[in-house]
Symmetry: C2
Subunit: 311 residues, 2 copies
């Protein structure tokens, strides 16, 4: 079978090593990540457990705080103000409605390891990569989209011969999921790096791209009349995140040698994907947890009196 | 029939007069409100038309810009930066998902006449009424919740003998709708002003209050086990905003002499409400449009070089 299955653990390994070294290098500044869990959602609980386990491995301090959802906002505000806390993660869903998006922006940008507060989202969509004119403080990128970028780098989809920021030029990618937390930011990130991205959800297909010859500074979005069946055969990379057990990508539509990446908690590709794909990544969760910690170390460094030595 | 029906137009009349006077007082600073319409939603179109008509009446300049939804974000960013534009309103829904909430925070707080960007929402929930320590710039309150507050003031529900900020002390209010745009902010506003508020949606009942003797600085929220049938008989005021034609409040459950206010585009009270209520307000839209313009004049004043003479 020519398809190579790449496990998230193998991508995560080098990041875990880097994290360990960075934490060990500053024993006097062991950063504290605080996780807030205000629900019993099994995926949220699992994500919280994973965070804890990986932090033990890397040496980051992790404190899981279980709070009533009605006390969560005040708990976040207190953690924002507490200098002992370097990073904050909230395990969503909490209210499972738009109030969750409000809560995302209650987390201070200085401690938002998830990169979900408005200023980070805005900067990401606008391809603004630094928080300051002097380019000393990088913007935080949401963990799951960032993890998928790192997976694609690992897989060689990013071409390092091309200049930084244009390394997906020539690639066509489908992202099946257009949530505000993963699918839409991911489509924007990949398009900002030069790809032509087809963003797919139940309402239809959109194209995110920087135009012919990646002439635009940042992506623009165009509604398409094509269906997912029309665009899948064009794609070099297909990334799925459909949170439904029964959903499966129709393997017959995929290009031979496609790169297939699944970030759903369910398997969105059928078993026959290995007859079609060149590279298959069944999950990305372990890389996501690394990115969370990477974001934490960055923010912790920015919080130090100075000189700010960003990891 | 003892029930008095109060039309939004009669509440709006005095605000329209005030707006006219304020605009006429500064002919050299006629403010420009820009409305963005990126959909064909009939209520959004109607709201845009109303805005236009009322602006003609008050002398405010209004410019409706029809844009493709994919161009909307850039159009907002351009209007944020344009000194000729004093206020911005977006007629939602645009994408009718969480991307709309992202767009709300793309509007600059300096021009956000709707009061929907994160900083205004956060300040409202936290009962922070000014943007600056010196208390020279008031926070903008979302238009529909603010309109309902003004309706309740008009109806005498706010007791002006009590100190400002506590004028609903002793009142019990139901708000049937807990959307992020109207119901939840409204519940918070009323609770911050001293009321005990039951916030009702399909997921259940919550209580927003400042505790016994309104001892807290701002409201807290508690999940209740009571149903809407349990709490409605306790309420002095019932405010509804259920966007469903078939939904009707069960009049039999209401307290005799209740104050009934409907802000849904549909009539959430049955015709027999007039046999039960002391005051009935069938809609608030015309007051909402006044609040929009009131917010605009305030923001326009803050944008003037100075002295900032807030209306």
């Amino acid at each position: 079978m020519p398809c190579k299955t790449v496990l998230a653990s193998s991508v995560a390994a080098k990041f875990t090593e880097e994290l360990k070294e960075q934490v060990a290098a500053h024993p006097e500044h062991r950063p504290l990540l605080v996780g807030f869990l205000a629900n019993d959602d099994p995926f949220a609980v699992k994500y919280a457990e994973w965070t804890g386990k990986t932090c033990v491995e890397t040496g980051i301090q992790f404190e899981l705080r279980r709070v009533d959802r009605e006390q969560l906002e005040e708990a976040i505000v207190a953690a924002n103000a507490d200098p002992a806390v370097h990073g904050i993660i909230v395990y969503y869903p909490v209210f499972n409605n738009r109030q969750d998006q409000y809560l995302q922006s209650v987390v201070s940008p200085a401690k938002d390891v998830e990169g979900l507060c408005h200023v980070y989202c805005y900067n990401m969509y606008h391809n603004i990569r630094f928080m300051d004119e002097e380019k000393t403080r990088k913007c935080i990128i949401p963990c799951t989209p960032l993890a998928i970028v790192k997976v694609l780098e690992h897989l060689g989809v990013y071409n390092t011969i091309l200049p930084y920021g244009d390394r997906l030029h020539g690639k066509t990618v489908a992202v099946i999921n257009r949530s505000e937390v993963v699918g839409r930011p991911l489509a924007a990130l990949l398009a900002n790096d030069g790809a032509r991205v087809y963003s797919v959800d139940v309402t239809g297909v959109q194209e995110f791209s920087r135009g012919p010859g990646i002439s635009l500074q940042r992506h623009k979005v165009v509604d398409k009349t094509e269906s997912v069946e029309d665009i899948l055969p064009l794609c070099d990379v297909v990334i799925t995140g459909v949170p439904v057990e029964s959903y499966k990508v129709n393997t017959a539509l995929l290009k031979d040698g496609v790169v297939a990446v699944n970030f759903s908690s369910y398997r969105n590709f059928s078993d026959d994907i290995k007859q079609k794909a060149s590279l298959y990544v069944p999950s990305v969760g372990k890389v996501t947890v690394c990115m969370l910690q990477r974001n934490l170390l960055r923010l912790a460094a920015y919080q130090r009196p100075q000189p700010a030595n960003a990891p």
